[in-house]
Amino acid sequence: MDEVSSDRRDLHLERVTKRFGDFAAVDDLTLTVPQGSFFALLGPSGCGKTTTLRMVAGLEEPTQGRVLIGEEDITGLRPYKRPVNTVFQSYALFPHLTIFENVAFGLRRRGVKDYKAKTEQMLELVQLAPYGARKPAQLSGGQQQRVALGRALINEPGVLLLDEPLGALDLKLRRQMQIELKRIQTDIGITFVHVTHDQEEAMTMADTIAVMNHGVIEQMGAPGDLYENPQTTFVANFLGQSNLILSGVTDPAGDTVVVDCHGQKVGLDAARAHTTNGQGWLGVRPEKIFASAAGTEDHGDVNLLTGGRVTDVSFNGVSTQYLVGMPWGQELMVFEQNTGRRAPFRNGDGVDLAWSRSHSFLLDAVQDAHAGVITPEDAE
């Protein structure tokens, strides 16, 4: 990194648009990634996240808008002149070069004199020191992934771009690499921009997540904020799962907004009501709901929906997932830890559902309640 200049090297995208023909892959996107942060662009395939990344790398040219690092406008710079490196989804390791030569590639192109020592250090960092003389085809997927990471990191880029870097690894290895990536990022403090469709991966690693859909950012913030207080149905469904119940706002004034949920009154914090007139989607996460046998829960300070009936029970070890049919015909999801304090409910049991007021959110009713729901076809 440039040691003389101490000014911040934040990544800025200013009103960036990329059109392919009539289709706007990225639509008027403005975004700032602070230097040294771990930033995730999260969204389903085709949402424009990879296109955004490629524009930062210089592999695509924006139709409109500017890309800056610190004060420097890099919009028109060719890729090889940018202080940006990429870990490609396919790794794109050079098959004819050894691991050492792959990692040293960027330094040698820039004529760095002591590239040998630096390369050895980097191989050490990514735990591949004994493999320097091998060819990429002789390594496992996880090892190749680390070569790709080392090959990019060794250049100490202003921004490191990661394009679904763990997509090709199996689940267990992916979890391991997530922790590893996070450790390396914390150690060296380089800005990481990580593109992924895996919400769990984004939440595990990133300081800040931008959820993208149809070429725009739906919501941006810390993983906890996005999860606990989604502002759109897309975010509510794409990050984890949500119960969304159509409700009418009855009392929008004050610190607690009161809504009418099919005849039962429910309250929520005003800060979490993203619409306050007419109708809205009342949202609550399945694990926030406490189910109790009908009539045993005190109303008190919590929200309570009565008249539910268990329609499906699936036990999966640490927790049990219930589907609860409500009087108005909707089925709500409830996750319950298997603490063993009470026998699990069975199909047909009458239950009441309770949750804290601070765990509800209210979203605009014009939004599609199924936006961002992950169906089995999307899972890949």
Partner: protein
């Protein structure tokens, strides 16, 4: 239970053995063909090269293990060997220089015209080799357009000609063997992953360095097979020298042809053929070792 497991193990082993057997079976037709049409003639050719040279078509030949045939062959025609390798070498280098950009353009830039361009590369094969070479006599003729143009721009002296010169023979070789260079080059360039070139750009290579460090090394298998497919047949070619040159441009192939078909000097023709084959094999082995293709993925 164990009996069943044992039985299924045996079944699996039997199945594996059967599969291996099937693999060998697939080799049989090709092997048989090679044995009958390559191995047997090659042995026959080698024996012929050791016949008594005093024999003739009328009196018959005797196998006398006359290794002196080789001494005669080499001492009388070494200059033809040198010329053959020189012409073939020049033709190969020029073919490579012409084909590489062409193959590169087809592989990377042709887009939907790719197949059309590939068909155009092999289109000359629809006409006979002999006819195409004959037509080059017209193209390079003394009163022809090419000669006329070269006179006009004073590249050729006033009475200079193209036909019956080494230039004509080498040009003919280049023309005839160009597709054999282009197609393997195209095949290996087409396989080069574009993402690797993007990665090179991402790692501070300008387009030229990216080509030098990534694209070209990855196309080396095509370069090696293209040069072999051009150089080897060009070494033994005699049609181009025959039709576009004079005896002064004759290559070793011409001598072999006349020894076999005109003079019926079978021992000489056979020993020339064996020497040509041996030298080419040695050159190819050295070349492939040097190019180190076995290390390329």
């Amino acid at each position: 239970m164990t009996a069943m497991a044992g039985a299924s193990d045996a079944a699996v082993a039997g199945e594996t053995a059967r599969r291996r057997g099937r693999g060998w079976l697939l080799l049989v037709p090709g092997m048989l063909y090679l044995a009958v049409f390559f191995l047997y003639p090659a042995v026959q050719l080698f024996l012929t090269s050791l016949y008594d040279p005093s024999g003739s078509y009328e009196t018959g030949y005797a196998l006398t293990w006359h290794f002196g045939n080789y001494v005669d062959a080499i001492s009388s025609t070494w200059n033809l060997f040198v010329r053959s390798f020189l012409y073939a070498g020049i033709a190969t280098v020029v073919c490579l220089a012409l084909s590489y950009p062409l193959a590169y353009a087809i592989a990377f830039k042709a887009g939907r015209w790719k197949n059309v361009m590939l068909v155009l590369v092999i289109a000359p094969f629809f006409t006979s080799f002999l006819l195409r070479t004959l037509s080059w006599r017209t193209i390079l003729a003394d009163q022809g357009p090419v000669t006329g143009f070269l006179h006009a721009i004073a590249v050729l002296p006033e009475h200079g000609r193209l036909l019956a010169t080494p230039v004509a023979v080498i040009a003919g070789l280049i023309y005839n063997f160009l597709p054999f260079m282009t197609l393997p080059l195209y095949a290996s360039l087409d396989k080069v992953d574009h993402r690797l070139i993007e990665a090179a750009g991402d790692l501070y290579s300008n387009p030229f360095t990216g080509f030098r460090k990534v694209t070209f090394p990855l196309s080396l298998p095509g370069v090696v097979s293209g040069t072999l497919l051009t150089f080897i047949p060009a070494c033994g070619d005699y049609i181009n020298a025959e039709l576009l040159g004079t005896p002064k441009q004759y290559m070793v192939g011409n001598r072999i042809q006349s020894a076999f078909l005109t003079e019926h000097n079978y021992p000489l023709a056979a020993s020339l053929s064996i020497v040509l084959m041996a030298v080419v094999v040695v050159m190819v082995v050295l070349y492939v070792r040097r190019a180190g293709t076995e290390e390329l993925v």
